[in-house]
């Protein structure tokens, strides 16, 4: 693996160089470190106080660029691997126009939940890793992350064991990004700080446990709205067919008898679980958005990993792999029939 070594401030310099080239049609989307903490910024014209890491996860930031089709404005995305993976999935689903976007994934040492109270969290990779080993603040979704290394997207920023940062390119667009950075490309000799994630056990649950966990659900549908890959404009749950309200609900009850209200919890979560099964990146944005603190990630991530492994697929791993439900092999799944 070869890449360019990033000196202190080199990345900010490179991004500023990119923005200066054409002030009216250039954009950098990345994290900014200001007084109130680290947050996502779309930088136009000039980058300041740039931060590689954002140690607090509130939403999956790919949500902002969903349905971005305009050409002509060059954009560099500097996001976490889970966000870049969601971006790759959305490209496959033709929800983003890829042409003018350079997606750079940054090694992610893990994140804490925005729901927790957090004080004095460091912003350096090595210190962050230490911070998360010392306490139990890391989100469950991050603990079980499938790909925390910045090896997805067009280019990646990898952190070496000695704390040095490296920019690595994965395709033509990545080369374009690397050309912004000073210095020569060289072979990377140091080991990387983050290694391949461990495989999770096959997910297994049962209805009783599911009902217990979801009994608190108030059907606000925040999990759907905050999911980066739940992209349908015309969601099946918006009409009266699946989740009837008012008159339609009255009709349903008169026809089929007593129901618990809010009605359709299993229906809603099962259908959503299936619909995102092949594209779920396991970022945990649904759980973060849930006002009731339901362990959604456990179910959505578990199911999606189980279903993706059926087709040896991993969401967001590469631009070329097709989503399993959109393709087939003639000679497979011989035991599907009963």
């Amino acid at each position: 693996m070869s890449g360019k070594k990033l000196k202190n401030g080199a990345i900010e310099e490179a991004l500023n160089r990119f923005l200066k080239e054409n002030e009216t049609s250039r954009l950098v989307i990345g994290f900014e470190d200001n007084e109130s903490g680290v947050c996502l910024r779309a930088f136009k014209g000039h980058v300041e106080h740039y931060s590689l890491f954002c140690p607090v996860f509130s939403i999956n930031n790919t949500l902002h660029i969903r349905r971005l089709f305009s050409k002509g404005t060059k954009i560099i995305l500097m996001l976490r691997p889970c966000e870049i993976r969601a971006y790759v999935e959305l490209i496959k689903l033709t929800q983003i126009e890829r042409e003018d976007i350079i997606a750079v994934s940054i090694d992610c040492p893990g994140t804490a939940s925005s729901k927790d109270k957090i004080d004095a969290i460091p912003l350096e990779a090595k210190e962050l890793v230490e911070y998360f080993t010392k306490n139990d603040k890391m989100r469950w979704a991050c603990k079980t992350c499938r790909e925390r290394r910045g090896i997805v997207g067009d280019a990646g920023i990898r952190i070496g064991q000695d704390g040095s940062a490296w920019a690595v390119s994965y395709n033509n667009k990545g080369d374009e990004f690397l050309s912004l950075i000073d210095g020569e490309s060289e072979e990377i000799n140091t080991g990387m700080l983050l290694v391949e994630s461990k495989k999770m056990d096959k997910f297994q649950s049962e209805m009783d446990r599911f009902q217990e966990d979801f009994s608190k659900c108030i059907m606000c549908k925040n999990c759907r709205d905050m999911c980066p890959v739940c992209y349908c404009i015309d969601c099946v749950f918006n009409g009266d067919e699946y989740l009837p309200k008012g008159d339609a609900l009255l009709n349903r009850i008169m026809r089929s008898g007593t129901v618990q209200l809010p009605q359709g919890k299993e229906l809603f979560h099962f259908i959503r679980m299936y619909h995102v099964s092949q594209t779920c990146v396991g970022c945990g944005a649904c759980e973060e958005a849930c006002p009731q603190g339901i362990p959604l990630t456990k179910y959505f991530k578990g199911i999606s990993e189980r279903l993706q492994s059926m087709f040896s697929y991993m969401s967001g791993r590469s631009f070329e792999e097709s989503i399993p439900y959109l393709t087939f092999i003639e000679d497979e799944l011989k035991d599907a029939e009963d």
């Binding site: 049962e206 599911f210 699946y242 578990g302 199911i303 087939f328 003639e330 799944l333 599907a336 009963d338």
Partner: protein, 139 residues
């Protein structure tokens, strides 16, 4: 609606491809073959028209079993529809398996000429579900 004390008769929702399985069921009718009353067929233009959401909706709104039936792989009227069905339903089965609901869903391949096979498959499914429900009721 089942009455108390009586053995409950299961209700099965079946999604049948209009080119194969639904034709097979019509042929079964003209041959005067009988299949259980609890089986309700829904005609779909192709088995790949069945969004797994339909199956999940049927299961959670009270069906004791659901089956999806289409042409044999390779014989689809729309050339490759049932290959997609196979992937989708296999994945759905895996998902239901994670919640121990796998026995509620089945996938059949029945061509238009296989009326007897259709009757056989449907009756077996009906009897198995009925037996299981009765065992559960006794327990």
């Amino acid at each position: 609606m089942a009455e108390d004390g009586k053995n409950k008769n299961p209700e099965i929702v079946g999604f049948a491809c209009s080119y194969c399985t639904f034709k097979a069921s019509e042929m079964a009718g003209s041959l005067r073959l009988k299949y259980p009353d609890g089986v309700r067929l829904i005609q779909v233009p192709c088995s790949s028209r069945v969004d797994p959401a339909f199956v999940i909706k049927a299961i959670f709104e009270g069906a004791d079993g659901v089956f999806v039936a289409g042409c044999h792989p390779g014989d689809c009227h729309f050339i490759k529809g049932n290959y997609f069905t196979r992937r989708k339903i296999a994945a759905l089965k895996e998902m239901l398996d994670a919640f121990k609901l796998k026995d509620k869903l089945r996938l059949f391949w029945v061509s238009a000429a296989e009326a007897r096979r259709f009757i056989d498959k449907v009756t077996t499914m009906y009897n198995e579900i009925k037996e299981r429900e009765n065992v559960r009721e006794k327990a």
